[in-house]
Symmetry: D3
Subunit: 142 residues, 6 copies
């Protein structure tokens, strides 16, 4: 019987963004997104928490070496988004509105193929201390 343990690793990146639907008028963008749609961008200290579920390796006592997960998140996510303008500098958000929801989903889809297929993955993303998201909502696949 599988005995599953969850491990978490937190990393940070600082980015500019704006919420803007290119198919809408400026007025509609302002009505829907408020100050989040201001044209010259604002920014956040994002915190990403990577959650991985798997069995503990008996030889190491690890589900996975969190140092390797830290390195992976730094090379794949922090390197890509840190000190960048998400709308202007990244291909991921060239045509996708960089809401916290969409950033979390994007991070998940970047990391998923880099993590062992027998492990489950979930991403929590903090945009501010008060606003945060999680993707996918459910990871219980037993």
């Amino acid at each position: 019987m599988k005995e599953l343990v969850t491990v978490f690793r937190k990393e940070r990146f600082n980015s500019a963004h704006r919420l803007f639907n290119a198919e809408w008028s400026d007025e509609k963008n302002l009505a829907v997104f408020g100050k989040c749609s201001y044209p010259n961008y604002h920014g956040h200290n994002y915190e990403v928490v990577v959650k991985i579920i798997g069995e503990v390796n008996e030889e190491t006592g690890y589900v996975v070496d969190l140092k390797k997960i830290s390195d992976l998140v730094k090379s794949e996510i922090v390197e890509r988004f840190d000190h960048k303008n998400l709308n202007l500098d990244t291909q991921e958000f060239a045509h996708l509105i960089p809401t916290a929801e969409n950033i979390a989903k994007t991070i998940y889809h970047i990391l998923r193929p880099k993590i062992d297929a027998d492990k489950l993955l979930q991403i929590r993303l903090y945009e501010t201390e008060k606003n945060f998201v999680e993707y996918p909502a459910f990871i219980d696949v037993r």
Copy 2:
């Protein structure tokens, strides 16, 4: 197939309360609740985290506009409980012991009808940094 994302919003309120079962003697209340039953009340900086699960709207990139959730929590919860004595000033706890468990359940039942029925809701309530609760315990209804 539905692809669900979770969003969270945190708000705060400061209230007085005491734990007291009106059907018990003062001695039994003290024996069960200890200093939490002291007659003249004590208080807490409560933090409430509202968790909502739903599909991402493709036009907005939002599960729900967290600004609207913030406004809702402020008008329905903070306005009701902030700087109040939960036992004396609120009808919700006139006959219900204001434990963290009961406060979280009460917040859930106030907010549930105000949030779209196709979305799932869970409440986390921090009474102190060390004591907190969540209701309902399980929200996986797939």
Copy 3:
């Protein structure tokens, strides 16, 4: 030459209070103190940080044993104020408005005689994460 080091110890207590000047009308109290003057009290998770400045004892490497400071703060401050109504249950605030400023000053005057006279003392008190105070403002007496 004296070589001074500062040490800090944090403790917590949870209390009810209201801001109310007994020489004023209810209307004036409400006008000045707003919801902080509501008659049935509200409350806070207070955090007190005791700051002590002195020379390092060469035999122990301590300015002062922080375990003893923790015990002192627990017996003199936490025991006195925790799970109490500051206005109703304490003699300190029977005739003194329990603002954060006055609570910090009161804590200082309770602890000052209990701490070695050759050491400097300052109190920081958090009423909420966003509102906090310090007394005395200046402790540099060289």
Copy 4:
């Protein structure tokens, strides 16, 4: 129908440890565990969050008295591990590598028989602010 609520209690302990597999050479330990395997130990401020799920008792408004859970965690976990060397001073880790995963599992197995059998239990353990684990991964037994 059962209506389940979750309660949480956080406690802390400070311990030394090293990650070391006695069946491997020093070189292999260093290759796998890096600086976590340094021979003279390092240490952490561990935070343990005990999560308990159960029905609310109507008389008390509690799932469980968190003061009793605090006392239990202090007597069973903090007393056992605080200011100890996990590898040298505890029988639990005499032959088990004290990774965060294994510490969380060990805490679970110590506490599980001490908590009512009709309640569910999960342990979250913070080794640092950035590295933390949870056991068991899933507790939904409905």
Copy 5:
């Protein structure tokens, strides 16, 4: 004799910025400021802590009503900088590099005339959890 107490109030704003000296080449800007000079901006969740020193008013128990300071900081600072691009959207940083040092000084000079002249003022600004600044460095004017 004056008996001075210090009060603090924390507020937040989210902005985009870049560090760029217009008198330098792009190469020199990159050499000096690194990724902080990337052309399309990045951003931060700034936290500003306003520190005010004064005498306690005996009638109110306040140095100053922190609700009024909160309102002042919101109207003068948050309104001005929140969800803005500091370089493009503000006159304050049209010709001044928006380093944390310069933002703190700017906030000080905006607030100083709005606060009673007999009170001392200091600004702490958090750019990230790890990088923060304070201005002025010294406020002891006795």
Copy 6:
């Protein structure tokens, strides 16, 4: 006239230590230091906050490049103490009791010659969230 600004940078390291005066008996060590003197060491997640005071360079808007301070603290302090046993693995604490006071003083004396002489330096060291120290106590040399 000099206009001074303060900048801060936080870093972390995880170490084992014990408090032990080699000139005392084990009994006296236990009596004075309690569980902090247990023979097999315990450990902490230390946080060090480096505070530097100086004038703002008009060309950069910096008192000092905090990236360089981060690199300095990592190479001089974190590299030296992280994942080490302070008593056994470091020459600094071979004959000096590694109390928080002494660690802060030691960090100060390591960093002081590496930082421009016209700048003031102060070290804050967190041993736990509740116990922390600062050295030197006073840095106002005007």
